[in-house]
Structure formats: C-alpha cells, structure tokens
C-alpha cells in the first residue's frame, strides 16, 4: 500500500491551492498544481496521478467538464471535487459526471486529507467468501455475525453498518462527515456529535475486554480502525 501519493490539484484560488499543497506535502504526498481548467486537464491526461482534486468553478473549463472528459478518455483516477456549491443536486451532478467524492467549501484540511487518503487507497479490505478479518476480529457479511477472539458479539443493525464501514476503510482515517455520509447517507452536520456516541457504543462492544483496541480516535480528524496503536 503506497504511503506517498501523487496528487494533482486543479484550483484557481491561489490561497486555497497553496494551503492544500502545503498540507499534502506535509503529509508526504507529491503535489502538482494547475491554476485553470485547460492546463489542469492537460496535466491530468498527460501524467499518472493517484488522486485528482478538482475545483468546480474554474476559468476556461469547468471542473465537471474536466471530470467527464477524463472519464470519457478512460481515466479511472479517483477524483475529489471541491465546490462552494453544496446543494444536493450539485453533489449528484458531480458524482454523475464521474467524480468519486465531493467536498464543500469551507472545509477543514484534515477532512480533505482523510478523503484523499480514502480515495487513493480505495476501500480494500476485501471480502473473502463474505468475510472480513482484522487481527482477531471476524465479520461475516452474509450471516451478519461478528466474532472476536472466539467470542460472539451481538450488534444492532446500525452498529453493524458502522463496523462494516470502518472495516472497509481499514487503516484509513475517516472523518465524522464521511461516516455520516457513508453509513447514514446524510450530508449535514448534526448539532450534537452523534457519531462520537455511536463510535463509543461500538467500542464498548467490539474493543472493551479484548486484547487491544482496534478503533482509534485521531484527534481533530476522526476515527480509524486498525491493528495496533
């Protein structure tokens, strides 16, 4: 699994572009930047990237158009669309054009990083005959049963969905927004941090009383399921 990614950022706002570039490079990723649509499309077509971050509103060519052109050309590079337009229809339009994720401005750069990570590495903890295994934790997707270190764990349907989401993103930090979107299909920020409550509930069942915690909190960003601290 690659630790350092090659990322192309197509964004015309200089300050956001600099901010993103700096954060990405700080995280160890190699970042290229294009300031307008045409240059960006050319760059994306010309070189191989792990993730493309494309702003929707660009001079010369809109982000959506770049996305569809890339997809038409057969490029499967994951694309994260950045936008000040946050309506449901905008989101839907973005995903329909071929985007893989959609982040609305203003955003926290941790959110951006977590999502870029998730996109580049692609949920990967594969199912093997419908089962997902991490350390001593076995999850059977067909029978909906969960076992850890030999003990059976009874989960409510929503707890199971949450665990499945974390497992599919094993090793990747997922933010609260991502969890809300991925598990409940919600695109708003609830007034209270209910995600935290769900996570602690899940931890009580899955981590408490076992050899090591699998669900970790990453301060300021979100949560991650992985072996070891």
């Amino acid at each position: 699994m690659k630790k350092h990614l090659r990322v192309l950022v197509i964004e015309d706002d200089r300050r956001i572009a600099d901010l993103v570039k700096k954060r990405l490079e700080h995280a160890g990723h190699v970042t290229d930047h294009a300031g307008d649509g045409r240059t960006g499309l050319a760059a994306a077509m010309g070189r191989q990237y792990d993730v493309l971050v494309i702003d929707r509103l660009l001079p010369h060519m809109e982000g959506l158009e770049i996305t569809s052109r890339l997809r038409d050309a057969g490029k499967t590079t994951p694309i994260l669309l950045l936008s000040a337009l946050g309506e449901v229809d905008d989101r839907v339009k973005g995903l329909r054009a071929g985007g893989d994720d959609y982040l609305v401005k203003p955003f926290a750069s941790e959110e951006l990083l977590a999502r870029i990570d998730a996109l580049a590495r692609r949920p990967h903890l594969g199912e093997h005959e419908g089962r997902m295994i991490v350390a001593g934790l076995t999850v059977d997707l067909i029978s909906r049963s969960v076992f850890r270190e030999g003990k059976a764990i009874r989960l409510k349907p929503r707890e199971f969905r949450l665990l499945e989401y974390l497992l599919r993103h094993e090793g990747m930090v997922v933010t609260r927004e991502m969890i809300l979107e991925g598990v409940w299909g919600l695109h708003f920020d609830p007034q209270t941090n209910i995600v935290d409550v769900h996570i602690s509930g899940l931890r009580r069942k899955v981590d408490e009383g076992f050899s090591e915690p699998l669900i970790h909190t990453v301060r300021g960003i979100g949560y991650v399921l992985r072996k070891g601290e």
Binding site: G86, E87, V104, A108, F188, P190, Q191, T192, V197, H198
Partner: protein
C-alpha cells in the same frame, strides 16, 4: 412626432398587428368589393338581355301581324323620334345584309355580317360605349338586327368604382385610426410597468404597479408582477437580515479567536500552545458551521430546492432518526420512543426533512431531564402529515414561541451553549419549503414541537405571503 416616438411605434408589436389587421381587412374589403362589382354587372347585363329580347319578340310579332311594311314603319318612326333615352337600335336587312330600314344611321356598315358571324351576341364599341347586337330572322328573306348600348352598365361600373375607392380609403383610414388607438392604449397600460421596472432597477424596490381593478389581462400581469416584487423584497430583506445577524453573531467569536491567536503568538510554553491552538481550531470549526448552517437556511428559504423533490416515506425517516439518536439517548439515560406510526408519504427533500426532524430530536434531548422520555409521533390524513417531537424539559414560554424560530435567537438559558440558535430556524425554513409549518405547544410539562407538511406540494408557491412561520394553533 419625435424620432424616438416614431422609432418606438415602428418596433411596436401592437402597431405591427394593427397594420397586419388593416392589410387583411383591406384585402377582404377589396375582394368583397370586386365580388359585389362583378355580381352587380352580371345582374345589370342580364337585365339588358332580357329587355332586348323583349324588344325582339315585340318586333317579330309586329312583323307577324303586319308584315314587313308594318315593321319598317315602326323602325322609321323610332328613328325620327330620336329619343335620347332610347338605348336600343334596330336594323332590318335583306338576306344579303343590305339595310332596308334602321333607327340609327351611324351604326357600322358591316354590323350585319359581324352579327351573323358572331352567332349570338356580338359585342362592339359604338359612340364611345359598349354595344351588343344580335339578329333574328324575319321570314325567309329578311332579318332583324337588334342591339343595345351599354350606357347603364358603364355608369354602373363607374359608380361602383367610385364607391369602392371611397370605401377603401375610408376603411383604411378607420383601421389606421383604430390601430393607433389600440397601440396607444396598450402602450399606456404597459408604460407604468416599464417605468416601475426602471425604478426597481435603480434600487427603489418598494414601488408597485397601480391596478386599474378592471380584472383584465393587464391587471393580472400587474398583480403578478407586484406579487413577484413582494417576494423579491422579502427575500432581499431576508438576505440583509442574515448578513446583519451573521456579521453581528460572528464578531464576538472572531474577536475571541483573534485574542486566542494573540495569546498563542505570545505563549512560550509549547504544551500550552498546543492546547490553545486546539481551542482556537475548535472555535474556527464552530464559526464555519455557523456559516454553513446560515447559508443552508438562506438557500432553503430561497426556495429553489423544490426541483429536487421526490416521494418520501416519512415513517422511514422517523425510524432512521430514532436509529441515529438512540445511542445518545442511552448515554443520557433518556428513552427515545415512537408513540404512533403509519405509512405516510409526502413530496419533499429527504435530506432536509431528515435534518429538520433530527434538529428537533436533538433539541428535545438537550433539554429533557434524565430518565424522561422523548417521544416521536407520526400522524397523517389526506391533506397533511404531522411529525411531533415531545420532551419533558422546561418548554418554551408562550411569548417566545414565535421568536424562537428566528435565526440566531437564543432563549436566555441557552447562552453559552454551542449551537448558535440556528437549529429551529432551519426546521422552520424546511417546513415552509414543503408548504407546511412548525407548531410549538405545551406538552404539560415540556415542549411538543410539531412539524407539519403538506402531502401534495404545489410547484408554484401560493400567491399570498404566509406571514410568520408559526401556524395558528
């Protein structure tokens, strides 16, 4: 007429239509006139043939009665009478076309041959008039040629032409006047609207178009425009209000944030610095959330989101909200339950409805005392769907129930509690978007918040502005 006015008239659709009408009417008039003309001429000519035939028959019976001498006498008598009103002429000729007697010596010499050749009516010009002649045999050796001058027809034709020409001019003149009148009267109805639009463009949003109260199409247009202006004004006021309140409400947190960053800058201890940074970041996140929420509410209120409407099953939404909030209820030792449920679908935006119900449940749980119940209920009839969220908390005093839906309004006890007071105003905006509303009632004790939705949402918003977001109890 000034150049500008002439130009305006040239481009006026009304004038164009009027001119087209005028052309059409003129053509119709002309066609009608031509038809009448032709018909009249036909009629008059037929009359002449009949009379001429009558003369011929009379002459033949004279011949039959008194023989050739009798007829010749008659013809000569007629000639000597020289009646200027007699339009008929006769010639008696032998079988070689030699004239024996005639009423008019001026007739052309070859008349007889021509008439025989024509075999029927022979048409010729005689004394500047049209003339027609035909022949009838008289016994075996002679024949009678009778003819008529078409003076009457000529004068009739002349008269008709005069009438038609004058009629046409009159008609065109009338239509011209009519179209001018029509154009100016329409212009007069449209001008206030154009003037109003210019006013508004210049920034005077409060002007409205005066109505004539005649109920005609211009009045309807004016009314629609006025209502549109009302809505625009309402939205602009809304935006201004949001901008003001946001500015107002963000000034303090931003000042605090600045202070925190100043402390950070001056802080020597690394550990404290990290802590302060974390606090500052949390404050920034809070600010960003306020921005996002305010913007979302404003967008909802602008009402464009109806394009995304689909059929939603409310029972599912309620169940999902409960699913989402149950762990929090457990943590707070509250019981979250659904007291009534049924299958009930509405037209709406699933995400927004979910968020609205979610906000209500969130609020309820925040104020509910431990070990009490937060109840959800879904009731529907044919017209409306009601989702109610009830708690046993302190409730909202009656005088604050209206205000509490305003953006950034916080009840006294809430200050210091993060949330910025936007939750309920979002709920109200969502309800309004779905042509519904929110009711706040006393749960005795506690609060019952009822979200009301119309089951069928009209694409066009209702004409009357629903004042305030709380429906009358």
């Amino acid at each position: 007429m000034s150049f500008a006015k002439a130009n305006k008239l040239r481009r006026s659709t009304t004038v164009r239509l009027a001119l087209a009408l005028m052309t059409l009417m003129s053509v119709a008039f002309l066609l009608l006139g031509a038809f009448l003309y032709w018909g009249m001429i036909q009629l008059m000519e037929r009359d002449i043939w009949l009379r001429l035939d009558g003369e011929l028959v009379a002459a033949q019976s004279l011949y039959a009665g008194g023989g050739m001498p009798r007829l010749v006498t008659h013809v000569n008598e007629r000639r000597s009478r020289d009646d200027p009103y007699d339009e008929f002429f006769f010639t008696i000729a032998d079988k070689d076309c030699q004239p024996i007697a005639t009423t008019d010596i001026g007739l052309p010499g070859d008349l007889c041959e021509q008439v025989l050749r024509a075999d029927g009516w022979y048409h010729f010009r005689y004394a500047r008039d049209d003339a027609y002649a035909r022949s009838r045999p008289l016994g075996t050796d002679h024949m009678l040629i009778a003819g008529v001058l078409a003076i009457e027809v000529e004068s009739a034709r002349y008269l008709m032409r005069e009438i038609l020409t004058w009629g046409l001019f009159l008609g065109i003149g009338l239509v011209l006047i009519a179209s001018m009148l029509m154009a100016t009267s329409i212009e007069r109805r449209l001008e206030p609207m154009n003037r109003m639009s210019r006013q508004i463009r210049l920034g005077n949003l409060s002007s409205r178009i005066p109505l004539r109260n005649s109920g005609d199409e211009f009045d309807r247009l004016a009314q629609n425009l006025n209502e549109m202006l009302d809505e625009i004004q309402r939205l602009m006021d809304g935006i201004r209000h949001v901008a003001d309140t946001i500015a107002h409400d963000l000034r303090t947190p931003l000042t605090v944030l600045r202070g925190q960053l100043e402390d950070l800058r001056d802080e020597p201890d690394r550990h404290t610095m990290a802590e302060r940074t974390a606090h500052a970041l949390a404050d920034v996140d809070r600010l960003l959330a306020i921005f996002a929420a305010s913007l979302r509410i404003a967008q909802i209120e602008a009402g464009n989101r109806r394009v995304g409407f689909a059929s939603i099953e409310l029972g599912d939404v309620v169940a999902e909200v409960v699913d989402l909030y149950e762990p929090l209820a457990d943590e707070k030792s509250l019981s979250l339950c659904v007291s009534s449920m049924q299958r009930c679908s509405i037209d709406g935006d699933r995400g927004l409805v979910f968020q609205a119900v979610s906000n209500l449940v969130d609020n309820a749980m925040r104020f509910a005392p431990p070990r009490s119940a937060v109840e959800l209920a879904l009731d529907c009839d044919e017209q409306v769907a009601r989702i109610s969220v009830s708690d046993r908390g302190p409730g909202i005093p009656e005088h604050e129930r209206g205000k509490v839906l305003e953006k950034f309004y916080r009840l006294d006890r809430e200050s210091g509690d993060p949330g910025a007071g936007l939750g309920l105003s979002l709920v109200a905006a969502v309800a309004k978007l779905h042509d519904g509303g929110i009711l706040l009632e006393d749960h005795r004790p506690g609060l019952r918040a009822i979200l009301v939705f119309q089951r069928r949402v009209v694409r066009e918003k209702p004409a009357k502005d629903t004042e305030g977001d709380t429906l009358p109890s």
